[in-house]
């Protein structure tokens, strides 16, 4: 029983990684928006970098989630 409980707690702890991902995505889009409002002409040329930054940020959080899922389901 302790093992099952420890697994649950561990999975929950692993999900804390998602907080960082949320933070990062907020920073990416927030900074893009403030930059885009200052210089709307250059905004469309930076969408590649925007999406790239978003995906890279999101992935770091998902690593934590994958670890949580591995802990729970193996």
């Amino acid at each position: 029983m302790e093992l099952a409980a420890a697994k649950m707690i561990g999975a929950g702890l692993a999900c804390i990684a998602l907080a960082g991902a949320g933070n990062g995505i907020g920073i990416v889009f927030g900074n893009y928006l403030s930059g885009a409002l200052r210089n709307p002409g250059a905004a469309s040329s930076q969408t590649t970098n925007l999406l790239l930054g978003f995906a890279l940020c999101e992935a770091t959080g998902l690593y934590g989630l994958v670890i949580a899922l591995i802990i729970l389901f193996t």
């Binding site: 590649t48 999406l51 790239l52 978003f54 995906a55 890279l56 999101e58 992935a59 998902l62 690593y63 989630l65 994958v66 899922l69 389901f73």
Partner: protein, 249 residues
């Protein structure tokens, strides 16, 4: 209800087959890979079946896809990168179609298996290394030596080597984790609907997770496209490094 959210990722053999001690069964994974390839082929076959000067609906979709990938390569690695157009195009559309095909309820998501994404990422990294050595010979190794004073280089070179090798892991795990997490989330919310629907008086509340599934489904559509896009863009960026080393295009 009692179904585990991970059950959908289970690879089940359809035609069991063993060759020389190896399990080479035709699985639902293989079936959906074939379906993905068939879907991509059908899409582009229809797009170019009756080419006209003024494109119709299907033809313009094909042309837009071509332009989209071509622009992606041009903006990241310049015109020299267009040599790799077929490679990037194939990878992009394989990943895109397997992501989208996986979103159909009941379908199997090919890219939710790490073996598939890892193989794709390994293909990309091997291509990068081969192209780098073919283009620059042993000069390719300069990629791992940044411009820095010698007393810091002994620290930087191992870091560069490790960061190059970690791309293999990050490229594959990013796609795999996104697909896995998205589909698990959908399944978990579907479980909420079933649980609430069987809860007697609380049954009308089941509409809430149902709506949530619709929203997450829409988000998953975005993620499916975005992950294919990111995979392809990162492939271009890595190829660009192999083509031009550190000097800019």
């Amino acid at each position: 209800m009692a179904m585990s959210p991970m059950e959908q990722f289970e690879v089940k053999p359809i035609v069991p087959l063993h060759l020389g001690g190896y399990d080479v069964s035709f699985t639902n994974q293989s079936l959906f890979m074939c379906l993905v390839v068939a879907a991509v082929t059908l899409f582009f076959a229809l797009a170019v079946s009756r080419p006209k000067l003024v494109p119709g609906k299907m033809q313009s979709m094909g042309e837009i896809s071509y332009e989209f990938v071509a622009n992606m390569i041009r903006s990241t690695s310049g015109d020299a990168g267009l040599v790799f157009f077929p490679f990037v195009f194939t990878i992009f559309f394989f990943v895109l179609f397997s992501n989208f095909l996986g979103l159909i309820p009941g379908a199997f998501t090919v890219t939710s298996q790490i073996v598939v994404t890892f193989a794709l990422a390994a293909l990309v990294i091997c291509t990068v290394v081969l192209v780098g050595f073919a283009r620059h010979g042993f000069g390719f190794l300069k990629l791992f030596v940044p411009k820095a004073p010698w007393y810091i280089l002994w620290l930087l070179v191992p870091i560069e080597v490790i960061s190059f090798l970690t791309r293999l892991v990050s490229l594959s795990v990013r796609l795999f984790a996104n697909m896995l997490a998205g589909h698990t989330m959908l399944q978990v919310f579907a479980g909420f609907v079933v649980a609430l629907g069987a809860a007697g008086l609380l049954a009308p509340l089941a509409v809430a997770p149902m709506l949530m599934i619709v929203f997450i489904g829409a988000l998953e559509m975005l993620v499916a496209f975005l992950q294919a896009y990111v995979f392809a863009v990162l492939t271009c960026i890595y190829l660009n490094e192999a083509l031009h080393l550190h000097d800019h295009h």
